[in-house]
Symmetry: C2
Subunit: 253 residues, 2 copies
């Protein structure tokens, strides 16, 4: 009887692990869709591809539904499995992450909306060089943070958080350039404004990618590093894994 | 012995209810601070009060810390108390709500940042009428949604969600007006852009207030209404409380 109980309990625990793994996989799948949304949104704008903009915009409904479904599974797992410690942290981190992924999808949709407005106006405004440049940076961040999640790689998560600082700097420079375009040619104001909103969305996508890296750090290390400076995040990771000196070199910043 | 156990269990349950009430009160207190932040940010801009802008900006650290502290308490309560059903929904709803409150605080900070930029430029741009108007609408939404939380008033929550549609319409009209200001006077572009960012922040604050109303509806009714249309939210509430016809009249939209 004792053996039977032990077997039963092992069975439950295996099933729970299977559920945790499955929800983690679903979150990564949602990440893949969101990554494609952002990629397509940038491509649609810079290549003036209205059909791609409309397709990418439609993906938003799918990511909205995935957010609800994954979040619902998270709450049910908490109610039924009553997880603690690292299992609970995994669930909390997934629930926070799908919220940021959904917001990235929202921003990609906004980019498509502005692409459609630009297309309908019949003019191609200046500023696509800046969109391509910052677009490539934030696309790289999304790709990296999803890889970091898949590998539970905190050093990689840290690099994503650090990259956000670069995006913010490049964003401010790009905005100044766009203001001069407007001043030189007031007739272009509406068009350039659309590009500005796109850049703003890209900058926000960078913020969400950084949030995702913070959720992973919480999941693995147990420390909630939201609202912390990069320096203090680095300290958290150093305390957690003193061997990983290369990626967390204090002189590399 | 049996009585002692029952007494113990009642004691635990009372303590848990006390904890739930206390975390709910903390969330409402955070809401009060965020409400003040938004109020002060709008006042600082429209009355050119640089000191108030700097004070309001500093409040952001406090709301960041409150988010972390309340979220930490939520996770600990889940781990220790292992709540289910409505208790779990209350905790999940509070955790989601502090995230939206923190983002409202972020937007208020952004408004202050633009106020400081405008002040330093020495020029007062056009567009303050629009800021006052939309500012009053979103301030009202925050106030109403916090009252709805305090009273668990779903009809009031629904009205907040509905008000967001009006904010979006007024926002689009205001943006068109601001574009004409820029075209008429290209020298004003930088200044008017600052006002545009402020309006964008106000519009996002409206979105977060709507999110808060959806978290309350989830908390009380158990239905996750995120990404639903107003019509379908109304249906959820009607199914939940068929007596409340006045506020949920299908002809009132």
């Amino acid at each position: 009887m004792h053996d039977a109980m032990e077997g039963f309990s092992r069975h439950i625990s295996q099933q729970f692990n299977h559920e945790l793994e499955s929800i983690r996989t679903e979150m990564l799948a949602m990440g893949g869709i969101v990554e494609r949304q952002v990629h397509d949104a940038i491509k649609a704008l810079t290549e003036n591809d209205i059909q791609l903009a409309e397709e990418s915009k439609r993906l938003d409904q799918q990511t909205n539904q995935m957010e609800l479904s994954i979040d619902d599974q998270c709450t049910k797992m908490i109610a039924i499995r009553q997880p603690t410690a690292s299992d609970l942290r995994l669930i909390v981190s997934i629930s926070r992450s799908v919220s940021d992924l959904e917001r990235i999808g929202d921003e990609a949709s906004r980019i498509c909306k502005h692409t459609i407005e630009i297309f309908n106006s019949g003019n191609v405004p200046k500023g696509y060089v800046e969109v391509r440049h910052i677009g490539a940076l934030v696309s790289g961040m999304i790709n990296d943070v999803l890889t970091a999640f898949a590998r539970r790689d905190l050093a990689m998560a840290y690099r994503v958080a650090k990259q956000d600082i670069r995006v913010d700097t490049e964003y401010r420079t790009a905005m100044r350039t766009l203001v001069t375009y407007m001043m030189e040619d007031p007739a272009s104001i509406s068009g350039v404004l659309n590009v500005m909103w796109v850049l703003r969305s890209l900058e926000r996508i960078g913020d969400h990618a950084r949030n995702l890296s913070e959720h992973l750090i919480y999941q693995v290390s147990g420390t909630d590093v939201r609202h912390q400076t990069l320096k203090s995040i680095k300290q958290t990771l150093r305390d957690d894994s003193p061997d990983d000196e290369d990626d967390l070199n204090p002189n590399s910043e």
